[in-house]
């Protein structure tokens, strides 16, 4: 099956990491562990990965990084006092699993 996305690990240094031109050309999505998703087989995606010195990961490698980060966050949430996990604190929900797309 042809890939829709490609993944890399790159640390967001702030200004200039993604500029407006790049953002207009392609769609970016970030995931835990500094994992970034950009379109596969895309010149602008490839140029951006090169610009940010991104370390390219397969989808499975990227998924493993994301899983590790999410599991750590889930463990931290599970360790919270019950009062901080109460449903009334609507925004403090348990971190959900994330499944990356091919």
């Amino acid at each position: 099956m042809a890939k829709t996305y490609q993944y890399c690990v790159a640390e967001n240094w702030g200004k200039g990491f993604i500029d407006h031109v790049e953002s207009q050309r392609i769609t970016f999505a970030s995931f835990p562990g500094n994992v970034w998703q950009v379109p596969a087989y895309n010149k602008h995606g490839n140029l951006w990965i090169a610009k940010v010195a991104g370390v390219v990961k397969t989808k499975d490698e990227a998924q493993a990084i994301v899983d590790a980060e999410v599991q750590a966050a889930q463990a931290a949430w599970d360790a919270l006092p019950d009062a901080e996990k109460a449903p009334a604190v609507e925004t403090n929900t348990r971190p959900a699993d994330i499944t990356l797309e091919e």
């Binding site: 967001n12 702030g14 200004k15 200039g16 990491f17 993604i18 500029d19 407006h20 031109v21 790049e22 953002s23 207009q24 050309r25 769609t27 970016f28 999505a29 970030s30 995931f31 835990p32 562990g33 970034w36 140029l47 610009k51 980060e69 999410v70 750590a72 966050a73 931290a76 449903p87 009334a88 609507e90 925004t91 929900t93 971190p95 959900a96 994330i98």
Partner: protein, 593 residues
């Protein structure tokens, strides 16, 4: 002759790959692809409607002509026939000299708002010279409800259809009217388009029909029908590129269709279903004004193809990653972030210059789920959650320090506020007893006073605007119950407007009640990247954030905004900033083929 060197101060540069950040209008030669390229503003290729300033006197079934930067609206009825004439300069409608007599149901054409013709509803014809109406030679047969070649100049046009028999057509040569070939199908209140007397289009009409006929200067020929049969709609354009919008067909319609010279193609709808409006312009820029839903309305809507395409880019990161704080500032590169959870409650305040964040003096009271607004030199922070629970505390920022001021009346957190500065603020909604509140309070620089409530209690909503013109969007009415509602505060009351496309809470908004941006939140995923643009009438989805998040801080407007920090999937708090610009560029290749 102007040269590139003379205009830009440099020769066209050669590159092996396209430059990283070319300026708008910059031209370069790509040696690898052997292509001459240039940087061009990215714009939409499909059209959409947005609201504009209303006419001064709402009415329907009036006449109109011109273009979107120079249009005329005259006559019509608001229950009583009117002689009003109003001129639109692209921003505002201004009353100018009246028609000689009050009337409705006239046909009209004119390529610009300073020169046009009004014909009917009887034999009378008037010409507008930019200042006054003048009576000119009559039609051969007086009738109301005709259509016309809308974009024709004042010296040359054609009118057709109208009250039964409803097939007659007459051509105006600047002096006299001449009867010409009849339409094939009788109709009244049809749409009309055209810019010469040898090429016009007649479409739809009453009794409700979809028929379209093309005038070639001699005969009318049946061509492809409208997709939606209707009557009493607005129209604009020419015989080869026309627009039909709104109308009546067993009810008011918002549907918009584009004639491409062969077929009618459905486009984005009007924000409101309307009939009996006036219209003018081209298929790239048109206007719809007045109308009936059924009472007369003053609505003006602008159709634009080629609107700027906005995009997010990354900005500097907060020194203290956090969520649930307060934000203020006038643009993407002038912002203030204060308080929040990092993960413990913090009083830290940071100032953004468009590049990096700098720590400045702390809030007096550390808190999270507070709200704030204003500028980087005059802001307000109020409400929030402390170890003792909901707080009434309020502070103002003067560009250097936070100062305690009189408290709000009702303790709450997860409220939002609208404020231009630290002397006038509106706080609304939030988590207060019972679980969510509709309470609204106004700050006058000294005290907080209760004013009229939101229509529905909610918390964790977006908020923007100023204390006399605020917008509250999204949120939740109870735990687990996201809302998409948008409410507008006019200085006295809250009024419900059109909903967000995606109900969500813990988003935020920047801008004003006529132009705003909503971003982030908890839906469709627990951390959302969704961004929606508010044009004063409706929300439309635009480019997503690159990092999905909730409980963000914000600054700016709908054209230049910052999404600051927030909670991501993991880790819980981020310091990442993203900057929204409503304009972006794209690279194009010069074609010589």
């Amino acid at each position: 002759m102007a040269t590139y060197l003379g205009t830009h101060g440099s020769k066209i540069q050669n590159y092996t790959t396209d430059p990283d950040n070319p300026n708008t209008g910059e031209v370069w030669y790509n040696e690898t692809s052997n292509a001459l390229k240039f940087q061009y503003p990215a714009v939409t290729t499909t059209g959409s409607w947005s609201s504009a300033n209303p006419v001064n006197n709402g009415r329907n079934n009036g006449g109109g002509f011109g273009i979107y930067t120079s249009a005329l609206f005259f006559g019509g009825t608001d229950g009583t026939d009117r002689a009003y004439t109003e001129f639109y300069n692209g921003t505002n409608w201004t009353e100018v000299n009246d028609l000689p007599s009050a009337s409705q149901g006239m046909a009209s054409f004119g390529a610009i708002g300073t020169a046009g013709v009004s014909a009917g509803p009887n034999v009378d014809v008037q010409v507008w010279n930019g200042t006054n109406w003048a009576e000119v030679n009559n039609l051969n047969a007086g009738r109301g409800g005709m259509a016309s070649s809308k974009q024709s100049p004042s010296t040359s046009g054609i009118v057709f259809g109208g009250v039964p028999p409803g097939t007659a057509a007459e051509v105006w040569n600047g002096t006299n009217w001449t009867e010409v070939g009849d339409l094939n199908t009788s109709r009244i209140h049809a749409g009309g388009a055209g810019d010469t007397i040898t090429a016009a289009l007649c479409f739809g009409g009453k009794p409700t029909k979809a028929n379209t006929e093309l005038w070639n200067g001699t005969n009318w020929t049946e061509v492809n029908d409208l997709n939606t049969a209707r009557q009493q709609f607005g129209s604009s354009g020419t015989a080869t590129a026309a627009l039909a919008f709104g109308g009546e067909n067993g009810g008011k319609k918002a549907v918009t269709e584009l004639w491409n010279g062969t077929n009618w193609v459905e486009q984005n709808d009007l924000p409101t279903a309307l009939s009996d409006m006036s219209g003018c312009g081209t298929t790239t820029n048109s206007l719809s004004y007045g109308g009936s839903p059924p009472a007369s309305v003053a609505d003006t809507n602008e159709w634009i193809v080629g609107a700027p395409i906005g995009a997010w880019s990354t900005g500097g990161s907060l020194n203290t990653a956090r969520s649930t704080g307060g934000g203020a500032g006038i643009s993407a590169d002038s912002a203030l972030a204060f308080g929040g959870a990092s993960p413990s409650r913090t009083a830290v305040t940071e100032l953004y210059d468009g590049s990096s964040w700098t720590e400045v003096n702390d809030l007096n009271l550390a808190r999270d789920y507070l709200c704030g607004n204003g500028t980087t030199t005059s802001a307000i922070a109020a409400a929030g959650e402390t170890p003792g629970g909901r707080t009434t505390d309020a502070e103002t920022w003067n560009g250097t320090n936070w100062t305690e001021v009189n408290n709000i009346n009702t303790a709450r957190y997860a409220a939002n506020c609208a404020a231009a500065n630290n002397t006038a603020s509106l706080i609304f909604g939030g988590d207060g007893p019972p679980p969510t509140t509709a309470l609204t309070e106004l700050y006058n620089g000294t005290n907080w006073t209760e004013v009229n409530d939101l229509n529905a209690a909610k918390s964790y909503m977006g908020g923007c605007g100023i204390s006399t013109a605020a917008l509250a969007s999204g949120g939740y009415s109870a735990p687990g119950a996201n809302v998409a509602t948008t409410e507008y505060y006019n200085g006295t009351n809250w009024t419900e407007l059109n909903d967000l496309n995606t109900a969500r809470h813990s988003l935020d908004t920047s801008g004003t009640y006529t132009a705003a941006l909503a971003f982030g939140g908890n839906n469709p995923s627990p951390r959302s990247a969704l961004t929606e643009d508010w044009n004063g009438v409706s929300w439309s989805e635009v480019a997503d954030l690159s990092t999905a998040r909730t409980n963000i801080m914000r600054s700016g407007t709908s054209s230049s905004a910052a999404c600051i920090g927030g909670a991501t999937a993991a880790p819980a708090n981020t310091g990442a900033t993203e900057e929204w610009s409503s304009t972006s560029n794209t690279t194009k290749t010069v074609s010589t083929d």
